[in-house]
């Protein structure tokens, strides 16, 4: 078995944790274990490591771009290290900045990664008005093309009313 982190050396450290009835296993080599400071089981949670695994790419990317090896949210200054330490985010924009690390994390955490619940009422009304307007305008074009001017006038009034209500 090869190490999941460096993918080169033989894995000699095998960790298992049960989080919310789900068993998670990690197999890594001695050297990577030392680097990640995994020898003291009391200070370590597999979630942190899994989080670390997901963020590897971003850290590398940041290094390639000549960064400090730690990406930061330009809006609030929250860093990848802060995220790993606290498992919290700094502001709403962090969700954009740390999207890559989050994607994997959310999969194991939730039922899905697409929101299916309540939408802000204003946004919902906007979406509804938008859809309604598009439908009315299509009908208006059709009515004009068919030279049905009575229907067209009626539709024009409806569009006006919908725009005023939005």
């Amino acid at each position: 078995m090869t190490c999941q982190l460096c993918k080169q050396r033989e894995a000699t450290v095998h960790l298992t944790q049960i989080i919310e009835n789900e068993m998670k296993k990690v197999d890594i080599c001695d050297q990577c274990a030392k680097e990640k400071q995994l020898h003291d089981p009391t200070t370590f949670s597999l979630a942190d490591l899994l989080l670390g695994l997901g963020s590897g790419k971003e850290t590398e990317k940041a290094k390639d771009e000549g960064g400090e090896g730690d990406i930061k949210c330009p809006n609030c200054g929250f860093s990848q290290a802060d995220f790993k330490k606290s498992a919290r985010l700094g502001c709403s924009e962090c969700y954009e900045v740390f999207a890559e690390s989050l994607a994997g994390m959310l999969k194991g955490m939730h039922k899905g990664t697409q929101h299916r619940g309540k939408v802000p009422p204003k946004l919902r009304r906007g979406l509804e008005t938008g859809a309604q307007l598009a439908r009315l305008e299509k009908q208006l074009k059709e009515a004009i093309a068919a030279e049905n001017f009575e229907a067209a006038a009626h539709l024009r009034d409806e569009i006006r009313a919908a725009k005023a209500a939005a």
Partner: protein, 368 residues
């Protein structure tokens, strides 16, 4: 005005009733929300937290459903004791009790709606009702949330839903939970099976004061874990279904105990009464476990049904902050002094209580 003058008395609070409240003590729904333009409270600078506070407290207070006599104040203005009383009433979280300047609380007259400002998120809003009322709690809180969104803009993306400081609350930001009294399942040694089955459905089982607390007094809190990828109503319905199942299991466990080990059960309840009404020093843990048995005695008919309120009240007033409040001394009581005073209170209040009478037990029909 002190929040203590605002709060409903323990007797009045415990006199409230709701559907299935023999087993379901209370139903609670909470929503986590954040302002779009301000960093989350856990990371925000003081000026940002103050900005969120000054935007949100007046906005929440102005909502029609909060009434025109709501309590609203900064956590800084509350004493440690007042905060602890609020925790014992389940009106704020233990985390919020540790907050000071820049954090706040808005509470309606009935204490059915409680809004924490700058807890882990800018808003943690909860709707709390007696008995099994998950749906009603959700609808009430949904209305509060919608009304608030006419005034302020929350952080939201179409993919991730409502954004929260901790990704575990992302999406709906909803936590639906019920407080269950399950002495039958504990005495019948079936509780672990139930907890495991409930866990498998993605629901969490916790103790009296939430995460990381012990299940004292045979009280368990069941709640959803996942908040993203599912609609609020589906989460509420699923929990509702599971609760109905647990209620049935608890009822059957009680019947099973009455049929198979009536003497063991009567012995537990009789001794609980004996100790509670005669002890001169008693710990909080022992009190809760014995009061749980007394409550079971009421449910089974061994004590008059009208005594349920008293038992629930004793449960509340024997908590540390409530004891301190009732004690004439201003100085903080030590654990030993509290145990003495708790026993005094219990002896006095239980002096008028009838003895548990096992001949009055009526066996309810078993459900399939």
């Amino acid at each position: 005005m002190s929040v203590l003058d605002f709060l409903i008395s323990p007797a009045e609070a415990c006199a409230r009733s709701g559907p299935n409240d023999k087993i379901v003590l209370s139903s609670r729904v909470r929503l986590a929300r954040n302002l779009r333009t301000v960093p989350f409270p856990t990371h925000a600078k003081k000026a940002d937290r103050v900005r969120a506070y000054e935007t949100l407290v007046p906005a929440v207070r102005s909502l029609a459903m909060m009434g025109d006599d709501a309590f609203a104040d900064s956590m800084e203005k509350l004493t440690a004791l007042e905060k602890q009383v609020l925790v014992e009433r389940h009106l704020i979280s233990r985390e919020h009790a540790a907050k000071g300047a820049g954090s706040g609380l808005v509470l309606n007259r009935e204490e059915s709606l409680s809004v924490m400002v700058n807890e882990e998120d800018h808003l943690r809003m909860q709707s709390l009702r007696p008995g099994m009322q998950l749906r009603q709690s959700w609808l009430a809180l949904d209305a509060v949330d919608s009304a608030l969104q006419e005034q302020v803009e929350f952080a939201f993306t179409p993919q991730y839903g409502y954004l929260t400081a901790c990704p575990t609350n992302l999406g709906t930001g909803i936590r639906v939970s019920a407080m269950l009294h399950l002495p039958g399942l504990v005495l019948g040694e079936q509780i672990n099976q139930i907890i495991q089955a409930v866990n498998k459905l993605g629901l969490a089982v916790r103790g009296l004061y939430g995460e990381g607390t012990e299940a004292l007094g045979n009280i368990f809190q069941v709640s959803n874990q996942m908040t993203l990828g599912e609609a609020e109503s589906d989460i509420v319905e699923r929990l509702d279904k599971v609760l109905k199942q647990i209620i049935e299991n608890e009822e059957n466990a009680r019947i099973g105990l009455l049929e198979k080990k009536p003497k063991v059960l009567f012995n537990h309840i009789g001794r609980a009464f004996g100790v509670l009404s005669n002890a001169h020093t008693i710990s909080s843990k022992e009190t809760m476990n014995l009061l749980s048995l007394l409550r079971l005695g009421v449910d089974l008919g061994m004590l008059p049904a009208s005594r349920k309120g008293l038992v629930d009240e004793l449960f509340l007033v024997s908590q540390p902050a409530h004891l301190q409040l009732a004690h004439p001394a201003k100085e903080k009581l030590g654990a030993d002094e509290r145990d003495l005073f708790r026993a005094d209170q219990l002896r006095t209040r239980l002096a008028a209580l009838e003895k548990p009478d096992h001949t009055k037990v009526v066996l309810p029909p078993a459900k399939a």
